[in-house]
């Protein structure tokens, strides 16, 4: 069968919410073997630098 245009027997999709990113993985399997694995790393937040100065 086709999943997202990929011929496979099984399709699995997972979301993992990590402290700094959300990981979305799509796995396409044939005979129990992963033939394709797509990963999207959604960066939640970047970096801040330079804090408030103390010269006020």
């Amino acid at each position: 069968m086709l999943h997202n245009g990929v011929e496979c027997e099984e399709f699995r999709e997972t979301y993992v919410d990590e402290p700094t990113a959300i990981i979305n993985a799509k796995e396409y399997l044939v005979g129990g073997e992963i033939i394709r694995r797509d990963v999207e790393v959604q960066v939640k937040e970047g970096f801040t630098f330079l804090g408030e100065t103390g010269n006020g």
Binding site: E18, R37, D38, V41, K44, E45, G46, F47, E52
Partner: protein, 143 residues
């Protein structure tokens, strides 16, 4: 030592010297990807091929350019984030780190290291989706 995230220490002083221009017509910045065994961290001063994932699919050594957008200030915070996500297709590798660096700079000065849990991509597409470009989540923020 594993990969670790953060703004690169050297970048902080380089900004004060005007070494980086993030504007639309400014410098070209790239993202390169690293193996879980690499040692990219805030102490990294420049792009390095050491520990970089091997060429695979559309991923080639030194990584890919990001698309600049104009830096902005929201409330009291200056911020900048690439305007588009970065993706590599038909790749096979395991990575847990991306390094943003200035490709225009002669020394390929580093900007920031981005980390996440180790991810294995198999004959597939690896996409790095950028955060919302604002004063609370933008990729680079000066508060």
């Amino acid at each position: 030592m594993a990969n670790s995230a953060g703004i690169c220490d050297s970048f902080k002083s380089e900004v004060l010297k005007g070494q980086h221009n993030f504007d639309v017509a400014g410098d070209s910045f790239k993202l390169s990807l690293y193996l879980t065994t690499a040692t990219i961290s805030p102490t990294t001063t420049a792009y390095t091929a050491t520990g970089e994932v091997a060429n695979s699919g559309t991923y080639a050594a030194t990584g890919s350019a990001v698309t600049n957008q104009a830096p902005a200030t929201t409330s009291t915070v200056g911020h900048w984030t690439p305007s588009a996500n970065v993706a590599w297709s038909s790749v096979t590798f395991t990575t847990d780190c991306a390094l943003l660096y200035n490709d225009t700079d002669a020394g390929k000065a580093s900007v920031a290291a981005i980390t996440f849990s180790p991810q294995t991509v198999t004959n597939g597409t690896f996409t790095l989706t950028m955060p919302t470009n604002d004063n609370t989540t933008g990729l680079i923020r000066l508060a």
